[in-house]
Symmetry: C2
Subunit: 680 residues, 2 copies
């Protein structure tokens, strides 16, 4: 990987990161005040960013990538475009046209094969509209928010951290700002990431921040929850959200899925569907949007070894561990077997999924040189995760998180168990029976019903959900005060020894109840799709105007094009027959009988990423009937019998044979393609 | 079809419908007052309903259908169940478990093949969140509503027509209600369907209606729009809805799709995705829900003949035309060719799609005897349709609309053109060039810009959108009054001759601009899925407890099960090998190595609708290795070499070979299945 010259330039930057990484560790070891740790982490991030930017700028670029050229092609051939464009468009929403939609649907179909079929996962399809209590339990109502501020007159919104940063950087750059203030601002910027609402509010006041657009006053910081809300049903009383992830639908169905799997662990459930996040300022095309398709897997397990790990252990991947990041070391290539053996990756199950993710990404057309697995550092994990590796793809926007592979531990199942009183747990047979002390609440349900009426259920559920520690406290209180106050979702209730008691007893058990851990690979389909397009965007040598997508046949929007050489009606029966035959072997294709030279039409199919083109010409009409088959990337052509074409194209696009095999089997067809200016 | 005895019973009811149908026609011909027509239509509907109920009650039932038994199986094996059940559930929302999800996804996959691949349609994938102006233009903001009333204390909601009907029927049934009042109530009930908000409000007052649950006062009628609303973006100012149908996403992209199709008509676009309707009172399981998957096609065309009609013209289908309904005649079996030739179905394009819908429905497992095409009568069409045939499936809930096939004419494209000023039209080459008079507004854009600033665009767009009649009025006004008031979305503006003039000129044109008609087949996936389950729910002869789904292999959730005879570890390598081989030929399957007799496990795979089961037993271990293959519906078994199984099962499930072929090829395997009580 490493070029010694580049490494020489990077060495001081690496040292600079390492120094700060060591400081962070030291502070953590010393249990230093949290604010000091936060400050040190923020500085560490800044240094990491400088190192990473330098690394990217020095990396050898194979070819020039011209984003505007690609975006033009994407728009012109309607891979995707802004939604409701004739109405002025909506930021953060995109419509996939025929080519983008086919690409997306092929990616999903392959995903289904790779994960659901091959791993025999349980696929589910759950509701998007989600009632509030579910997302309260999962922590999203409270924590899935960003801070923002509004222009008090126009109502325009700004993400608060972005606004403060821009404002302070402007002051810092002004000539008449004192050196003292500049230093202070630097210090603030470093701390900004970890600041709470009050701290940011104080900054707004101190620096008298106004709307950067209108100059109007701004509101105090507002916690803006990123979930779209609505009301379910006509009463307007049932608050609901559009789900921000598909995962919760799986967690709330855990019991039924476990039952479907005949009570056994491990098993994985998967879901493909749309999620919604009301981003304050969507940007970067498909990379930050308000509505997006996810493919999520929740693998429920009680041990972390994996029976199929052996089958992937030699997969080579690029790892960028939290440790490497803190120590300023570059990402390193290892086999997943080595990474697990060294402890870089925590366990086989996590490792197995990471390898499978890697293989899937390569299969759909991600450039393996532009794919890395980066581990989250302790301070950047989502509220539910205890370890997380992101599959990141290098794009013109930098490294983009495309797949998250998180260890959510037992967080979600525990939360939903607490919220509903339904035990979301599995039973595991013990190696030998065990004597245990059972502590349980013995409720006088009749008396509770009589005294609390409609709240009785909440009370009984609350009692049933108490663990042994809580039950001991309950008994102590009843003994000492003669009453115990139980908190329930319906309010607080006083319970007396007449209503409840705590019973201890011995019991022989053969199984133990366990709340499984969850490993969650979560794929952002739109982000992967965008990176596939970038990684496969090519220009013909010597003709920059002639651009195309070298998409793998598995995901290409169509597998082939059928092109009659001209509008001659005698070609039509052959074109029709070919089209029917291709349909009968499930090869998606497009007949392009529009006017325009054959070179121009090849260029058009290239732009669509179509890997093969079949040309019907005057020789086709002679017996035996033959046609030309052209491969997109090499532009090589062969001549073969008409009746061979459908199966050859099917086998080529299913990777059953290679283009080289076809070239070996049939004579080459030599004819100069009119390359120059053909793309117009 | 017709049984003379049954027809004898039905004859007077048919006459009764015909009499009323004739009356409706007469009133329409005479241009009678609308209220009289409405009343007559309502009475016609009532008579139709009586006839239809009688017809259903007399129809020969092949087998007893026990809905509760089927629902038990659906729930127990988690085909689907109420969403968020551990939180108490939400009405009108369902989660599909592994079996339901696989069935649904196979249905969609086949749909994609039948329609998108075979017809080379342009598939798109558009946003769910839709800004208000789009749905204003489509008419949904104004017209997609039901009337309801609320309990003023509890906030409980009632669909107003349901509430009034129940209230009046109760009064009518009371002993001390006078004969006079009873007659009047009958009259009201007949008219209820066509009443507006004020009329219903008057009824509520007159009969002093209260909440039937609490007895509290009720609010006046409220128009309740069935779309879920939310805000897009953080400002709270951009109102949006969850789309009530996927169609609008296609219409707003018409221009780009036409361009993708190189400007040529006809072409069809298709979309598969979720839509949302906030039903006031969801019911009947999957049949009336708040969130559902649709597959929609919009076929844009300028002529109504269809090049592939020939290929389907002999398809036999059951037609129930508007005319038959009005005349009390039964539905009739015709080929689609006859139906179009007779004018029962208006044109080839509509007919082609109806036949394709029919074939698809049969392929996914709908019983052809329980499938009919019913034409909407004039008074029941959606606001955008000018003709509509529904594919209806007979279920235990009666005839259920599963697919709508509507002629939306140019309604939607016209509406969006008006709303945006973007011409959503195609160009068609004229047979010969034509001289036409062109009338156009000549706007002084500089002057308009200066005078109206930010409103200039709205004014220019408004002028550009005027047709020739409007332009002539504009000129007249300018001539007579020296000014013209233009209505725009930004308000009204006075225009003077300095700002705008109308120019007439002669022009030779080679193309004409046409707004295409739209034929829209629209599939409700959940409803079809439910009907498939009903039509394929079976009981084993002689054992009512042993129920199963005889799903066609194409859509069955899994294609086969692999069952080791017992927990003997020597079976494991064979099971593993089989599983790998099945995976490599893309056959979805499940290994069921749970304890339980083989008969019990067969019963379980039958319940899941799995068509084939492979059993590994002691004979498998002998050379040559053989296994048993069992077919679900016949319970027939054959013995075949292990290595033959994967391709045989693949070919069976792809309908390449029939079970009879397999039975002819391999020896029968005779062994009594333990049938009784095995399902437990």
């Amino acid at each position: 990987m490493a070029d010694p010259k580049i490494e020489e330039i990077l060495a001081p930057l690496r040292a600079c990161v390492k120094e700060q990484g060591d400081l962070v560790r030291k502070l953590k070891d010393e249990k230093a005040p949290e604010i000091d740790i936060k400050k040190a982490v923020a500085e560490l991030k800044t240094r990491k960013k400088i190192l990473e930017d330098k690394e990217l700028s020095l990396a050898p670029t194979e070819e020039l990538f011209d984003r505007s050229k690609m975006e033009d092609l994407i728009k012109r051939r309607f891979f995707y475009d802004q939604s409701f464009a004739i109405y002025g468009g909506i930021t953060g929403q995109f419509d996939f046209g025929p080519m983008g939609c086919a690409l997306k649907s092929n990616m999903i179909q392959l995903w289904r094969k790779y994960f659901i079929l091959q791993e025999q996962m349980l696929e589910v399809d759950c509701s998007i509209l989600t009632p509030e209590p579910v997302l309260k339990a999962s922590g999203h109502v409270e924590r899935f928010a960003d801070l923002m501020t509004k222009d008090i007159k126009s109502g325009e919104c700004f993400r608060l951290d972005h606004l403060i940063k821009a404002h302070l950087e402007k002051i810092k750059s002004e000539k008449n700002t004192s050196a003292e203030l500049k230093a202070e601002i630097e210090d603030i910027l470093v701390k900004l990431d970890g600041m709470n609402s009050d701290e940011m509010s104080a900054l707004m006041k101190r620096f008298d921040m106004k709307s950067p657009i209108s100059g109007n006053e701004l509101t105090p910081p507002i916690e803006f929850n990123l979930m779209f809300n609505t009301q379910i049903g006509p009463s307007g009383l049932v608050k609901g959200f559009l789900r921000p992830e598909t995962a919760q639908g799986i967690f709330v169905n855990f019991k039924r899925l476990l039952e479907f799997n005949q009570g056994r662990l491990p098993f994985a459930a998967a879901q493909i569907g749309n999620s919604f996040r009301n981003e304050i300022s969507p940007r970067s095309g498909l990379l930050r949007v308000r509505e997006f398709t996810m493919c999520e897997i929740e693998h429920f397990c009680d041990t972390k070894d994996h029976p199929k790990f052996e089958s992937v252990k030699n997969t080579q991947m690029l790892f960028y561990s939290a440790d490497s990041q803190e120590q300023g070391r570059p990402a390193e290539v290892l086999t997943i077997g080595e990474a697990v053996a060294r402890g870089t990756v925590n366990n086989e199950t996590l490792g197995y999924f990471m390898a499978r993710i890697h293989l899937y990404m390569i299969a759909v057309g991600i450039d393996p040189k532009k794919l890395r697995f980066r581990q989250h550092m302790g301070n950047e994990m989502a509220h539910y995760a205890c370890d997380c590796w992101d599959a990141e793809c290098l794009s013109s926007y930098g490294w983009v998180e495309c797949v998250g592979c998180a260890d959510r531990s037992a967080y979600d199942l525990t939360q939903h168990s607490k919220a509903t009183g339904t035990r979301l747990a599995a039973e595991k047979k013990l190696p030998a029976p065990k004597q245990i002390e059972v502590v349980e609440a013995v409720a006088n349900k009749a008396a509770i019903g009589k005294e609390f009426k409609k709240d009785a259920k909440a009370i009984n559920d609350g009692l049933a959900a108490m663990d042994s520690t809580a039950l001991e406290q309950l008994q102590e209180k009843l003994d000492s005060d003669g009453e115990y106050v139980l908190n329930t979702p319906n309010g607080d209730f006083k319970l007396t020894p007449k209503l409840v008691n705590v019973k201890k007893s011995q019991k022989t058990i053969h199984v133990e109840e366990i709340i499984p851990s969850v490993i969650e690979p979560s794929f952002g389909v739109g982000r992967i799709l965008y990176c596939i397009l970038e990684h496969n965007f090519k220009m013909r040598e010597g003709d920059e105007q002639r651009t195309y997508f070298s998409l793998p046949a598995t995901v290409a929007p169509m597998k082939c094009a059928v092109l009659p050489l001209s509008g001659n009606t005698e070609f039509q029966p052959f074109v029709r027959e070919l089209s029917q035959e291709l349909t009968s072997v499930d090869v998606s294709h497009k007949v392009d009988d529009s006017s325009g030279s054959i070179g121009r039409r090849y260029a058009r199919t290239d732009e669509l990423g179509v890997p093969y083109a079949i040309t019907v010409d005057f020789d086709t009409m002679k017996e035996p009937h033959t046609v030309t088959l052209r491969e997109r990337d090499s532009m090589g052509q062969i001549r073969l019998p008409l009746q061979d074409v459908p199966t050859i194209v099917r086998d080529l696009t299913n990777s059953k044979i290679l283009w080289a095999d076809a070239e070996a089997q049939y004579p080459k067809f030599e004819q100069q393609e009119n390359v120059k200016g053909a793309a117009a």
